[in-house]
């Protein structure tokens, strides 16, 4: 069967019969939701871990926190995302007896996982900010935490914006594994379209186009944001 014919059949399902509606309302929405909320959680966790990492270590508490962070980062960077999803959905949640929807499990696990990676990005960002900024903040009487949040982290974020953009893109692409825990995303919907007449070429081609457009769109957005932030300091 030639491609044109396959494409025609796909288009019938996708467009004429309204298959695209689910692609947008479920697939795209879920993919974006998991990636955006995951990144948001990741940034919060990552910033906290990074702040611990760059803390002076001669007191006991920072050392304990540092140890905890090391275990956390080691686990989430040392195991595949799919394993983490499966663990959460089929092992941990049932064991502690809570029911969490597939989608929420994904958001949570993506957030926790991304936190481990953002921590490293953020730490590099914080270290790229001149030490004098922290000193100046402390010298006027601000606490370590206040100086971090008001002075250092905002500058760090500006420096790492391109890298954070890449992390977001990585998350978008990683969402294609969420069907392992029965969540619906672009992959799942396009597979369902393909299942209708057991032809996957056209649907998967369309899926690839969706991902590429998404990734290019985000790349553009990050660029815009970056140049706006550069201008704000001039």
């Amino acid at each position: 069967m030639d491609f044109a014919h396959q494409w025609e059949k796909f288009w019938l399902l996708f467009y004429t019969n309204g298959g695209y509606k689910r692609v947008f309302s479920e697939g795209l929405v879920n993919t974006l939701q998991i990636a955006i909320l995951g990144l948001a959680i990741g940034i919060v966790i990552g910033t906290l871990i990074a702040a611990v990492k760059v803390m002076p270590k001669y007191k006991v508490l920072p050392r304990i926190l540092d140890g905890v962070c090391n275990v956390y980062v080691g686990f989430f960077r040392g195991t595949p995302l799919v394993v983490q999803l499966l663990m959460a959905y089929y092992v941990i949640f049932p064991l502690i007896g809570v029911t969490v929807s597939s989608l929420n499990t994904c958001i949570l696990v993506f957030g926790l996982n991304s936190g481990a990676y953002v921590a490293e990005i953020m730490r590099a960002g914080i270290q790229s900010v001149d030490r004098g900024q922290m000193e100046a903040g402390r010298a006027v009487g601000l606490s370590y935490a206040a100086t971090m949040m008001k002075i250092v982290v905002p500058q760090a974020v500006k420096n790492i914006l391109p890298t954070l953009g890449n992390e977001f893109i990585a998350l978008i692409k990683d969402t294609s594994v969420v069907s392992f825990v029965a969540a619906t995303d672009l992959y799942k919907i396009f597979t369902e379209i393909g299942n209708k007449n057991y032809e996957y070429l056209a649907p998967y081609l369309m899926m690839a186009i969706f991902y590429i457009v998404l990734v290019l769109g985000i790349t553009l957005l990050v660029k815009l944001l970056e140049s706006r932030m550069q201008r704000a300091d001039r």
Partner: protein, 267 residues
């Protein structure tokens, strides 16, 4: 001496500071320093590079934690880890060689940040009444504008530091420190990073503060300035204050051979 009649502001006693270079090696930078700074005094610290001048200055507000001895500020030992150092640092202004203005804040935000943040914190932090917060902000803004007028940079209030010259940056850094109404100002080579034509404007501002009676400690390589402004000069060498006296005593009648050698090089 006339200064003895005045109040002690900072009493340094047995101050030691060492840095751990690696597992085996420890570098002693300050060796058992005793010194008392009285209210209203202008103290200049001179000495060869690496003699511990910056480290000494930075120990005064515990930017470097002393490894031995005490720093009594208004009677409380800042070297004691239990002391709330942030509260005391509000009263000790510090000006850096590299200015260190907050890059992500405009000029006026640089000056207002600490007064507003700490003012609100004292008024209850997140639970402070909006009206109180507003009043704190307005007052800080008014004060910041007053400081900017004083240093002649009012028109720069809303620009970011990256657009300023070195001299302007340093004057704003001084204004930022003054915004907390400190009891003493610490300067670490405030003009060393400036182009020669901008040194004057910064030194003039510091002189003005000195004439108003601000207590200050200045690490400097500007011998002329030290001579003119300071009433005590400390010569540091090898982590010790090896000679101390009036500008007259230090520059005209140096006793310590190392000081004589140092002066012959820099004068």
């Amino acid at each position: 001496m006339e200064n003895q009649a005045k109040n002690e502001l900072i009493v340094v006693s047995g101050l030691c500071k060492s840095f751990r270079i690696n597992k085996k090696k420890i570098l002693n930078v300050l060796n058992d320093i005793d010194y008392t700074i009285y209210e209203g005094q202008k103290i200049a610290i001179i000495g060869p590079s690496g003699s511990g001048k910056s480290t000494f200055l930075r120990c005064l507000n515990c930017m470097e934690d002393p490894t031995g001895g005490s720093i009594f500020f208004e009677g409380e030992d800042l070297a004691d880890m239990k002391v709330d150092i942030n509260r005391h640092r509000e009263n000790i202004g510090m000006v850096f060689q590299q200015f260190n203005l907050f890059n992500n804040k405009t000029v006026i935000q640089n000056i207002m940040l600490a007064p507003v943040h700490l003012g609100i914190k004292k008024a209850g932090g997140l639970f402070a009444k909006p009206a109180v917060k507003k009043q704190i902000k307005e007052q800080a803004k008014e004060n910041a504008l007053k400081l900017l007028r004083r240093i002649g940079l009012e028109e720069k209030a809303n620009v970011y530091p990256s657009t300023l010259s070195g001299g302007q940056k340093q004057r704003i850094a001084i204004a930022r420190a003054l915004a907390m109404n400190p009891k003493v100002m610490l300067f670490d080579e405030p003009t060393s990073a400036l182009d020669p034509e901008m040194v004057g404007e910064v030194l003039d501002l510091i002189k003005e503060l000195a004439n108003e009676g601000m207590t200050m400690v200045i690490v400097t390589h500007e011998m002329g300035f030290a001579r003119e402004v300071a009433d005590r000069i400390l010569f540091m060498d090898g982590g010790r204050i090896t000679e101390e006296g009036t500008p007259e005593e230090i520059f005209k009648h140096p006793k310590n051979p190392r000081l004589q050698e140092f002066l012959s090089k820099v004068l």
